[in-house]
């Protein structure tokens, strides 16, 4: 027959075994939690600001997810990116958000002004404003649109009309430009006269040297080939460079940042050929000199350009041939225009032809001209030129649908009860041994 002492010994063994088992379970739970790599947290846009602070202070939150129905502000996006770089797995999923991007740049135009470019889905109405108020409204008929304003005060904002969940894109002018003058070189003729007129009427300060007889030039202003005073040289024909020294001066000017516009057959002259975007072919006469409003340059004669290299950027073509092309040459830009006798457009075109001719020449010259820029102070941190693109860049691709959260870990209360039970078992085992006189 078993004595009472034997029964207590068995109970003590049972308590010890139970305590050890409980301890082993707690250790296993702890190791399992560590293997799982922490805990998952999720939030919506509305709760994001508060959640970010909580997640940052919670060492177990190593996986966070944001259900975005409204794109995060720049600071929130940066915060999420910081959590990601700190080791947390950050994911996001988006509802209907409208991608929107905005840039603002000073125009290299003597009349001054600023161009705002907007990118948004086709059909989106976008309202563009600055600190003073609305600048303009555009409805996107293509993936991008631009508008011109006399000035933008502070940061410009572009917001999609009726899309309250999409934050506005904001951008500011990086620099201000001080356009330099233009130098026109070539022979005396209607083209030189009307190109000079078009540029002067657009506000360019033009100096010119036009050949009228062997060794005799008509000069207007002072022809200085340096970027301190001249932004662009316009060579209208193959007589633009008088001699090799002249050509060297133009090349040095271009390679040091100046612009060069080669019109008509100017690129045929050997000195300019090195800088040209391509070789002018045989002149194509227009079928009829009838200037339509939609494509007025079709009525001009032109020299098709055969591109010379991979660095040539085609800007305009006609009947499958390159009519306007550009390339970089050292620090400067060269724009080659195949058209000649553009003065006919101004004199024989329809209503508005003089303005169109003037605007086109000014734009061509501005696109090549040296940009004398002065940096403007601006607060980059307060700008968000492309909110959705920046979210992609900071957080990667969105997850659709939201990743299912892993099984929740044991609640802290259960762990407490387990610890209490363990202590109780050990205490009971110790008390039993002491009361029966064992050590």
């Amino acid at each position: 027959m078993r004595s009472r002492v034997d029964g207590r010994v068995v109970l003590e063994w049972a308590l010890r075994t139970g305590a050890l088992a409980l301890l082993a379970w707690m250790i296993w739970l702890s190791l399992a939690a560590r293997q799982r790599g922490g805990e998952h947290r999720a939030a919506t846009s509305a709760a994001l600001a508060d959640s970010l602070a909580a997640w940052t202070l919670d060492p177990r939150a190593d996986s966070v997810h944001v259900n975005i129905d409204q794109l995060p502000l720049g600071a929130e996006r940066d915060w999420l990116a910081a959590l990601r770089r700190a080791g947390a797995a950050v994911s996001w999923s988006a509802g209907a958000t409208t991608p929107l991007a905005l840039s603002v740049e000073a125009l290299n135009d003597p009349a001054g002004g600023v161009r705002a470019r907007i990118a948004a889905p086709v059909g989106t109405g976008v309202i563009v404003s600055d600190s003073l108020g609305v600048l303009d409204t555009v409805v996107m008929v293509g993936p991008s649109a631009s508008l011109r304003a006399r000035a933008v005060l502070g940061a410009a904002r572009a917001a999609a009309i009726g899309r309250t969940k999409s934050p506005a894109a904001s951008a500011a002018q990086r620099d201000s430009l001080a356009p330099r003058g233009a130098v026109v070189l070539g022979r005396a003729g209607w083209e030189s006269k009307f190109v000079i007129a078009a540029l002067e009427e657009s506000g360019w300060e033009v100096s010119a040297r036009l050949a009228v007889a062997p060794g005799i030039f008509v000069r207007q202003g002072s022809v200085r080939l340096d970027t301190a005073s001249t932004g662009v040289v316009v060579a209208l024909d193959s007589t633009a460079a008088r001699d090799a020294r002249d050509a060297r001066d133009v090349e040095r000017f271009v390679r040091s940042g100046g612009g060069l516009v080669l019109a008509g057959d100017a690129a045929r002259s050997a000195p300019f050929a090195r800088l040209a975007a391509g070789t002018p072919g045989a002149r194509v006469r227009p079928a009829a000199i009838t200037f339509g409003d939609s494509a007025p340059r079709r009525a001009l004669g032109f020299y098709p350009i055969t591109a010379r290299g991979d660095d040539v950027v085609p800007l305009e073509s006609r009947d499958g041939a390159l009519a306007v092309a550009a390339r970089r040459a050292g620090g400067g830009r060269v724009v080659q225009v195949g058209y000649d006798e553009s003065w006919r457009w101004r004199l024989q075109g329809g209503s508005g032809a003089p303005e169109a001719h003037r605007g086109w020449w000014s734009a061509v010259v501005a696109s090549a001209a040296y940009r004398a820029a002065g940096e403007l102070p601006r607060d980059d941190a307060a700008l968000d030129p492309a909110p959705l693109a920046a979210t992609y860049f900071a957080l990667g691709e969105p997850v659709v649908p939201e990743r299912a959260p892993p099984a929740p870990p044991p609640r802290p209360a259960l762990r407490g009860w387990m610890l209490l039970a363990l202590l109780a078992m050990l205490l009971a085992e110790w008390a039993s041994r002491r009361t029966r006189g064992s050590t």
């Binding site: 022979r187 005396a188 003729g189 209607w190 083209e191 030189s192 006269k193 009307f194 000079i196 007129a197 002067e200 009427e201 010119a208 036009l210 050949a211 009228v212 007889a213 062997p214 005799i216 008509v218 207007q220 006798e341 003065w343 006919r344 101004r346 004199l347 024989q348 032809a353 003089p354």
Partner: protein
């Protein structure tokens, strides 16, 4: 196509073709002194035609009263607005003459009022130098017409450029001879025509 084609304006009233030898003489002068690519023969362009725009410098002369039609006024205004230049010479060299009174009035109605052109204007140094302003003509010096030596030319200017140049000096008579006869002149009296053409082509 040549860069420069000498064009004479034909208008409905008056005698637009009163100086048929002037165009070949000026063409000869341009070819003689410059490298401007000039067409060997001139053209006649109706003042009422949109073709006016093909010739940005147009010469107009006559003795008789001038009365532009509505189309002529419109085309002339359009031509000037776009940067064309009209050179008008009073073949009478008579400020009390019919041509002067009517032509200046038509120019005023179509383009704007004429004003004296200063004698240091770039026109007078565009190629040859004429420090005293427009060169006098034999007809002025002989006392014909209004018996005056006209010290200035008149002009309508746009954007700092001459849009209409008006002369009472009767260059139409002065330059109205066969180009071969220049060899009999000590000083070529058509040199001022080079200035007008070069100015038109460069300013």
């Amino acid at each position: 196509m040549s860069d420069f084609v000498f064009a004479t304006a034909r208008y409905e009233s008056g005698d637009w073709d009163s100086a048929p030898l002037v165009p070949p003489n000026i063409i000869d002068t341009i070819a003689r002194y410059t490298s401007i690519d000039v067409a060997p023969t001139g053209v006649v362009v109706p003042l009422s035609s949109p073709d006016l725009g093909r010739y940005p410098l147009v010469f107009l002369t006559g003795h008789l009263p001038v009365r532009f039609t509505r189309e002529e006024r419109e085309q002339l205004a359009r031509f000037i607005e776009r940067g064309g230049m009209l050179f008008v010479d009073d073949h009478n060299h008579d400020i009390d003459g019919a041509f002067h009174k009517t032509a200046t009035e038509e120019i005023r109605r179509s383009v704007g009022p004429l004003a004296e052109l200063p004698n240091d204007h770039p026109l007078y140094s565009a190629f040859f130098h004429f420090p005293d302003g427009p060169p006098n003509t034999g007809h002025e010096l002989n006392g014909w017409g209004d018996n005056l030596l006209h010290e200035h030319l008149l002009a309508v200017q746009r954007e700092g450029r001459i849009a209409v140049l008006y002369s009472n000096k009767d260059y139409s008579s002065e330059w109205g001879y066969h180009p071969d006869n220049k060899r009999f002149l000590a000083v070529d009296n058509t040199r001022f025509a080079v200035n007008i053409v070069v100015y038109a082509l460069t300013r």
